[in-house]
Amino acid sequence: MRIVNRVVRGVLTAVAVVGAVLTLQACGGTDGPTGLKGFVPESANDVGGISLPDIGPVGKGSERPLTAAPGDLLLVYFGYTSCPDVCPTTLGDIRSAIRRLPAKDRQRVEVAMATVDPTRDTAAVLRGYVGHFFSLWRAYRTTDPAALMAAEDAFGASSSVTRAKGGGQEVMHSAFTYVVDDQGHQLVSWPFGMRSKDMAADLRTLLSSNQGAQQ
């Protein structure tokens, strides 16, 4: 049987040796001066000028900036739906983090996934995927590679989709989650493996410091 949708063929096959319990270092983020658990950009990283088509329930295909609603936070993740390991883990962790927040704060956090694989991630597939995880969400999808790259550059993200030997696609992507405010400032970014409890702590810190802006 041919697997059309297969993600990665063994372009690089490897022999691995396990000597002891293997652990992927979860997160290198240290508590910065702000007390945030994730990485705080050294210089203000402004993504306010970036917009992409949002095919989610609110955007319905219109170009929207990747910024939060007034007084709220937007979590931005560049990924793809044929990703069986990293993406669902991260999105699941984000969901858990949001669930840890008090109800009134949950309303102030929106999650945006931007697909790095628009060919396979059709609008319907992407909507179903992101909507499965979150109640407040956006799904950014552009078929213009230059627009996607410009957005990734602004965030410090990157991705590549290459045809693999077996006929499938090989996708590489930076797996950070970026927290953005209503001004388009990238406040903190979370590496893959960040614990949901730490994400929630960051969200609480940021939401409380953003309280004034909301009124």
């Binding site: 319990v21 069986p84 179903g128 590489m172």
Partner: protein, 154 residues
Amino acid sequence: MKKQIIAGALALSTVIAIPAAMAKVAAPVAKAATKEKVSISGAWVRPSMMGKDMTAGYMKIKVTGTSDTLTKVAVPMSIGMAELHETVMVDGSMGMREVKQIVVAKGATLVLKPGGYHIMLMGLKSPITVGQKVPITLTFKKMGAVKVTATAVE
């Protein structure tokens, strides 16, 4: 997540007979001095996402009494196909690659978990839903085939 694993997965974790092991057992009984064993715990798979014919499975594999090499993973054809994969980070980018084999040292535990080694399930014939049991066969160089049942949990 690990805590939600159904106890059945643990109960099923010991080695199950296979031709290779049978041959060993057929030898004089007195030989059973070394306790070579592969024990598997916490086996789970992520339910497949809507419209996606793939997902991943994870578990802990403890090898005692000998070192051994995991060479193959398989699921019944009625479910789909399986490969041993590793998520890797290259220049800050994450991707996956197939792994042909994994050597596990004596007494070591090989942990398959998100962001690392995983059993990639592909070409799923039908969606894997929460609570579903997925039989997985792991083949080791020395111990032969070891069967485990993984449960689908969110």
